[in-house]
């Protein structure tokens, strides 16, 4: 898994979850997007889809 979510920046808007073909991104009741490492295929489609630029490579 090569993407990570900056928890300080993520507001939990769920926008990114709509762009993950593997359903690996989910916003929990803590209002932070989490990446399920077993489902993430490193396609990086989520990189450009955060309105707050909270999704990073690495």
């Amino acid at each position: 898994m090569t993407v990570s979510v900056d928890e300080e920046v993520c507001i939990g808007c769920s926008f990114c979850t709509l762009f993950c073909p593997e359903h690996a991104l989910e916003v929990s009741r803590f209002f932070v997007a989490e990446v399920a490492s077993d489902r993430c295929t490193d396609c990086l489609k989520c990189l450009n889809c955060c309105p707050n630029n909270a999704i990073r490579k690495g």
Partner: protein
């Protein structure tokens, strides 16, 4: 690249401006950071179902700025339906009101009142505010209303309107602006329209207009700077596929919000009073929306339910499954709760979420029986807000740089809210830009 007008961001404000300017014969380029157009004014197909990344409450109807724009630019048509009714649910009684008679407040105020004298007093005050003298913005709508009644149910009724038409509470809403919004939005007398694929249909239609007139629309293209020389905007610098792009333009329209626009163009290039106005005025609220899916319909009703009950915090439930089949997640029945924090400037979304779940259980007697599943949690704040600024705390469309315009929901003209206000800001900017360039 060179063009007449470059538009930074493809929210409904930017897209209305771009479509109008392209339709007027100007060369337009729209640059959007995200993979899809529309910003918060959009919808996405996900798992075969239409999803609303921002609010399902965002609406438009005949006579509204979005509708006017679509007519003015001869935009391609798409499938739509009107929302005929909305429900006001009181404790133990309800009223289904036709949306085209929304301007007639008597039946719903009468249900909230303790007696006829109270109904007449509140309606009389509203009539005076509508027709004779608008209250000023120096008091909140709650303070204004308290002069005529302390009936908590009437206060909650107006809070239902306030939180659905601006995402803030009546104790935050400037009184004058609330009256203007009621006049402009509620009393238009036309029901709201929802398109088959949601707001995406509006954005797609505007995009087709721009392209039809030889305009360019680029997604995943993030603007990193607005170039300013000699006090004038000269264009923008952006990144697309890892490469730098320079766009020269006669006019720059920013749909990125006033604060980001100042960062992009450089603080030193703006006049002091503009910077101060942005700093003093912009108040960005927040709110929480939760989408559920149930195995059975919770109610035999489709549309919006305004909850006029002082014991409840969720004032608006949306149940749209009866309108479009493709809006149903996994064939189930969608229901969305919209919760506006008591203080929209400082709140904990996790606590608001817990409240929303408790309210759902209290409000729908058959909640557990319908096997609700949380489909999506959505917190709106910061750079992804329900409104870029509180109603009554918005700016004009002109910045202090002569050919740099700001459009969007921080630039709604008085009386216009949310997507409608953003669209109107784009229309106003486009008309004025046309006057200088065409």
């Amino acid at each position: 690249m060179r063009c007449d007008v470059v538009v930074v961001g493809s929210g409904i404000g930017g897209m209305c401006a771009a479509a109008k300017l392209a339709h007027a014969g100007l060369q337009v380029i729209v640059l959007e950071k995200l993979p899809i157009l529309g910003g918060r004014y959009t919808s996405v197909e996900y798992d075969g179902c239409i999803v609303h990344p921002a609010s399902v409450v965002l609406i438009w109807g005949e006579g509204s700025p979005v509708w006017h724009t679509l007519q003015e630019v001869d935009a391609p048509k798409f499938e739509t339906k009107v929302i005929s009714h909305c429900r006001f649910q009181f404790k133990g009684k309800s009223l289904d009101m036709a949306m085209d008679s929304m301007g007639d407040f008597r039946p719903v105020i009468a249900l909230a009142s303790r007696n006829d004298e109270e109904t007449d007093r509140v309606l009389g005050a509203l009539k005076n505010a509508f027709l004779w003298r608008e209250p000023s913005d120096t008091i909140t709508f709650k303070e204004w209303l308290r002069q005529y009644t302390d009936n908590e149910t009437i206060h909650v009724l107006f809070n239902c309107f306030a939180t659905s038409w601006g995402g803030i509470n009546i104790h935050e809403y400037p009184a004058g602006e609330f009256i203007r919004v009621m006049k402009c939005t509620a009393t238009r007398g036309k029901p709201p329209i929802i398109a088959k694929n949601g707001l995406k249909d509006v954005i797609d239609s505007l995009e087709q207009v721009i392209k039809r007139h030889k305009g360019k629309v680029l997604t995943e293209c993030e603007v990193s700077g607005i170039t300013v020389k000699g006090g004038m905007a000269k264009g923008v610098v952006a990144q697309k596929d890892g490469k730098n792009i320079e766009v020269e333009a006669k006019v720059v329209v920013s749909n990125a919000g006033p604060e980001r626009t100042i960062e992009l163009a450089g603080r030193e290039n703006f006049e002091k009073s503009y910077l101060k106005e942005v700093r003093d005025k912009i108040r960005t609220p927040g709110g929480v929306e939760v989408e559920f899916a149930t195995t059975k319909p919770l109610l035999d009703f489709s549309g919006w339910i305004m909850v006029v009950d002082p014991q409840m915090r969720v004032l608006l439930w949306c149940m749209m499954s009866g309108y479009w089949e493709n809006w149903k997640p996994k064939g189930k029945h969608p229901v969305t709760g919209w919760l506006v924090p008591e203080n929209t400037l400082s709140y904990d979304p996790r606590k608001e979420y817990e409240t929303l779940i408790q309210d759902a259980k209290k409000f729908f007697p058959n909640w557990e029986e319908c096997e609700p599943e949380v489909v999506r949690l959505k917190n709106f704040s910061g750079n992804w807000p329900p409104m870029r600024s509180w109603q009554g705390y918005q700016l004009g469309q002109r910045t202090s740089i002569e050919n740099l315009w700001c459009v969007g929901d921080a630039n709604c003209p008085p009386g216009f809210v949310a997507g409608e206000g953003a669209a109107e800001s784009g229309r106003i900017a486009a008309e004025q830009i046309k006057a200088t360039l065409v």
